[in-house]
Structures are given as structure tokens and as C-alpha cells.
Amino acid sequence: MRILETQNLTREFGGVIAVNDVSFKVEEGLVTGLIGPNGAGKTTLFNQITGMDKPTSGKVIFDGKDITGLPAWKISRLGIARTFQNIRLYRELTAVENVMLGLHFKVGSDPFRHRFLQSLRSYVFASGENKELYGKAMEWLGFFDIADSAQELARNLPYGTQRELEIARALSAEPKLLFLDEPAAGMNPAETAHLMSVIDKIRSLGVTVVLIEHDMKLVMNICDQITVLNFGMKIAEGTPNAIKTNRDVIEAYLGREEDF
């Protein structure tokens, strides 16, 4: 089943076309990789889908619903979570508070209706709710083996842990679809290996994952489907093996043979 689809998505910044007529598809339950050289428009595409930015034209269909141009917080409540290329944690808050904020809209029966009453409830019964959220947040920290750092300030955590904490925060909202923007950037090989096992665990939870990544070893090992962007355009999609031998992809990364 197709969980997410962009139809002819275009985003122009003045004269620059960052994303050009991209039709990107994500199948439910799979790990989809989005690769391409620097400046290919991968993060811009992520931003259009998650509502951080509005597309110039085109449509985003999530779970059968048109979510084009909705504000980010609404898209997030519909079930799309994301992490950021440059880690965006709440730096002055502890690790467990970060995850508790990921659980923000998981309180109450419906993330869209009766929210004012829910806010009053949250205020009046704050201690009970805090205990419940704290418990859930600790479970998520445990899932990533970082429960020991729960009371540390996010900014004091080691780099790899910060990355995992950001994934934990995104995942705590139990999204249907998780976007990871360069999760392995700046990680050493041991941390990357650990991240691979984490993504495997996320997949086994039944969450569909889309990841942008430059580490080809990670991408080829973990992805079921790969889409390649270059200069804002989709140049290929398919299984890792098909992508490895794709002429256009090799050209985009290494250049044409005649050039040498």
C-alpha cells in the first residue's frame, strides 16, 4: 500500500528551482532511501512534505488525504514525524523532557478535537499526567538504550546520543511515517552500526521510514527502495541493486565517462 505520494511537487526559491516536478512514492512498511549529491533538493522535499515550507505547486497525499500546505503541527498530528539534519533538540531541557514533548499531543482521545478541554484537564491533573508521560518517555529512552542519560541536559549529551534522542522524540508520537534527515551525519563507524540496528528496530515496530543519507553503506544495507534526486529532479528509483548499476545515478555522482 502506498502511504505517501507527492504529485509533481515543485518548489521555487526566486529563480532557483530546488524541487522540480518530483513524484516521490513511499510504500507502507518499507524503508525508503532518498539520496543525491549535495544541493539536490532532498531536504527541501522533506520540508515540503512535513509542512515546514509550502510547495509552489503540486500535491502531497498522505494516507489518502491531501495534506499540501497544512501547517507543520497539523501534519505532525496526522502521523508524520521527522528529525533534522542539524540536530534540533530542546537543548536546555533534559533528555526525558525532550521525549515528553514528543508525546505532547498523545494525551487525550483525539489530537484535533476537544483540545481546550484537554488543556484544562492537563492543568488540573498535571501530576498524574506527568507521571504517565514520564513513564512512557522512559520506555522510549529504554528502547534506544539511553535511559541512563534521562536526567542529563540535552546539550550535554554526546553527539551520537543526541541523534538517537531526536529519533526517540520523533518516534514517541507513534507516527505512521518517520522522516530521518541524515541520521548518520558526523557519526563514527561504530555509531553508524548502532544506528543501523536502531532503524531495523524501528522497522520492526511497523513504522514506515524515509531517510536521507550520504553513507552509501548504510543506505544500500538498510533500504528496500531508493529514490535518487539530482538538481531537484528525480533521476531514478528502485531497489538498491538496481540503483547501484543505474547509469544516470553513476553519472550524477561521478560524472560522465567522456569528461575524463
Partner: protein, 304 residues
């Protein structure tokens, strides 16, 4: 001498209530607002008008002042809270001046001879200062507890998230604009209530007492004590009031000019920003999931 101490305690209480409101806006949600004098003015006038013209009791005017200030805060908040940092600061600065100018144009002398507040047949006389001290500090305690609870509830955490990182907050399903407005309205309402007590004590309102300096003093209180920390801003209010009444207290009014306090406040802001940006007490570190959730601030210290 004792008289002055009592006066300082009364004004420290009024400023502490205002600072709790400012703390909600600046400390929790991270918006630099400079119009608390405006809300203070609205609260004072609401009380004055309700008590003097409509002849209602002071206690009815208390929620009315909060609601009126809150509504004005909302009307102003919706367009201005899209602005960030310095721009928001300028917009709110202008707003505080607008409120004061409107008040001046309505009646430059203000309103005087406002009926006294009464509680169970006890009339709060201005010369009986202890009664006022107890009344105002009881409300300081109430608002302190209410806002501490807010900070450590889901709503307060969302406000903190907005302060820390708006983009990340939106990606966590937090409606950033909504929480900014909520925080602004709550802060404004509390500012209005502070105005209420000011009126109940002085029994006059005059536009001249709601100048820009009041807003600066309140911001200074929050920065000096520690942003986002309820206890710290109350401490800040007491310190600021002691500084501003220092010449009278020591009988040095001939030596120290009245303008000196404005210079000192400016100096405090600069010095604090450079050497101790987190304030005297620093941020409130609340530990979730400790064995016993403390109910009152005193007990919490042990847990931290």
C-alpha cells in the same frame, strides 16, 4: 523607617505579581515583551472605573481587570506575536505607550477617591499597611503556585519548547502561535491583577505612573532574578524595590538623585546579561519522575 519597609514590601508584592506575568511571557515562552506597564495600567483603570463609577466591590473588579487585560493582550498578541525578538520588543514597547497615551487623553489627572477594598466587613485602610502586605503577598503566593504548576504541566512544557526551538516544536505537533498567544494573554491578565492591587492601595490612578520605566523595571526584575524561575522573580522584585527606595530608606535623598535608579536598572540589565545571563537563581530545574512529586517550593529544593 518601618513605614518605608512596609511600603517597600507592598510595592515589592505588586511588582512580584507583575513579574510573575512577565515571567510567563519572557521566561517560559521566550518572548521579549516591553508592555507590562500597559497591562498594569489597564488593570488599574478597570478597578478604578468599576469601583468608582459602577460602585461594584473590589473583589468583583479583580477578575474583571484580569479579563479586560487578557482580552487586550489577545487583541494585541494576534498581530504582533508573528514578530520575533527585537521586532516584537519594539511593537510591544509602542503598545505600552499607546495605552498610556489613551489614558492621558481620556483624563490627564486620572481618577481619585476610589472606594476602599473590603473583606468580610474589614476595610483596607491605606494607613494600615500590614493588612495590605498580607493581602498582596497572599496573592503573590497564589499566583506563584498557579504558575509553577503551569510550568510543570503539559501546557508549560509546550511553552518551554516554543522558547527553545520553534521549528522543532512545530515538528512535535505543538501549535507555536497558539501557545505564544496563550502565554501572552496569561501574562497580561496577571499584569492587570497587579494593577488592581496598586489601585486598592493608592486609591488613585493617574496616567503618569504607567510609564515605560515600569515595563523596564518589571523586565529587569525577571532578568535579575532568573528567567523562568518563579521564586527568582519574586526575589528580584524585592531587590529591585529595595534599590529604588534606597535613597529614601537611608535618608540620602539629597545625595542620590531620583534619576539614579534608572541608571542602576540599566546597569543591572547590562551586567546581568554579560556575567550571569541566567539570573541570580538561574533556571528552574524540575526533575520529573522523582520519588515524590513535591507540592510546595520549599520541599522541592530537597528533591533537586
Amino acid at each position: 523607617m518601618l513605614n518605608f519597609f512596609q511600603l517597600i514590601l507592598i510595592y515589592a508584592g505588586v511588582y512580584a505579581i507583575m513579574a510573575i506575568g512577565q515571567n510567563c511571557i519572557t521566561g517560559y515562552t521566550g518572548m521579549l515583551s516591553l508592555c507590562h506597564a500597559g497591562f498594569f495600567c489597564i488593570g488599574s483603570y478597570a478597578t478604578a472605573i468599576m469601583c468608582k463609577i459602577f460602585g461594584l466591590s473590589f473583589w468583583l473588579s479583580l477578575p474583571a481587570a484580569a479579563i479586560v487585560s487578557g482580552i487586550i493582550g489577545f487583541l494585541i498578541g494576534v498581530p504582533t506575536l508573528r514578530l520575533k525578538g527585537d521586532y516584537l520588543c519594539i511593537a510591544t514597547l509602542g503598545l505600552g505607550e499607546i495605552i498610556r497615551n489613551v489614558a492621558t487623553n481620556l483624563n490627564p489627572v486620572g481618577i481619585s477617591q476610589i472606594p476602599r477594598a473590603e473583606l468580610f466587613g474589614y476595610v483596607f485602610m491605606s494607613r494600615n499597611k500590614w493588612a495590605f502586605i498580607i493581602l498582596i503577598w497572599a496573592f503573590v503566593l497564589i499566583f506563584y503556585l498557579l504558575f509553577q504548576r503551569l510550568l510543570h504541566s503539559r501546557i508549560g512544557r509546550a511553552m518551554t519548547a516554543v522558547r527553545e526551538d520553534e521549528v522543532a516544536a512545530a515538528s512535535n505537533g505543538i501549535d507555536v502561535t497558539k501557545y505564544k498567544i496563550v502565554s501572552f494573554v496569561l501574562g497580561a491578565a496577571v499584569g492587570g491583577i497587579a494593577g488592581c492591587f496598586q489601585t486598592a492601595y493608592t486609591l488613585t490612578v493617574s496616567p503618569a505612573s504607567y510609564t515605560f520605566m515600569v515595563s523596564v523595571m518589571v523586565l529587569c526584575t525577571v532578568v535579575l532574578g532568573g528567567m523562568g524561575n518563579g521564586k527568582a522573580v519574586i526575589l528580584g522584585a524585592v531587590i529591585i524595590q529595595f534599590i529604588s527606595y534606597f535613597p529614601q530608606l537611608t535618608g540620602l535623598t539629597n545625595v542620590i538623585p531620583a534619576q539614579a535608579k534608572q541608571m542602576i536598572f540599566g546597569l543591572i540589565l547590562v551586567v546581568m546579561m554579560v556575567w550571569r545571563p541566567q539570573g541570580i537563581l538561574g533556571r528552574d530545574r524540575f526533575r520529573y519522575g522523582s520519588a515524590r512529586r513535591p507540592l510546595f517550593a520549599k520541599k522541592k529544593e530537597a528533591g533537586v
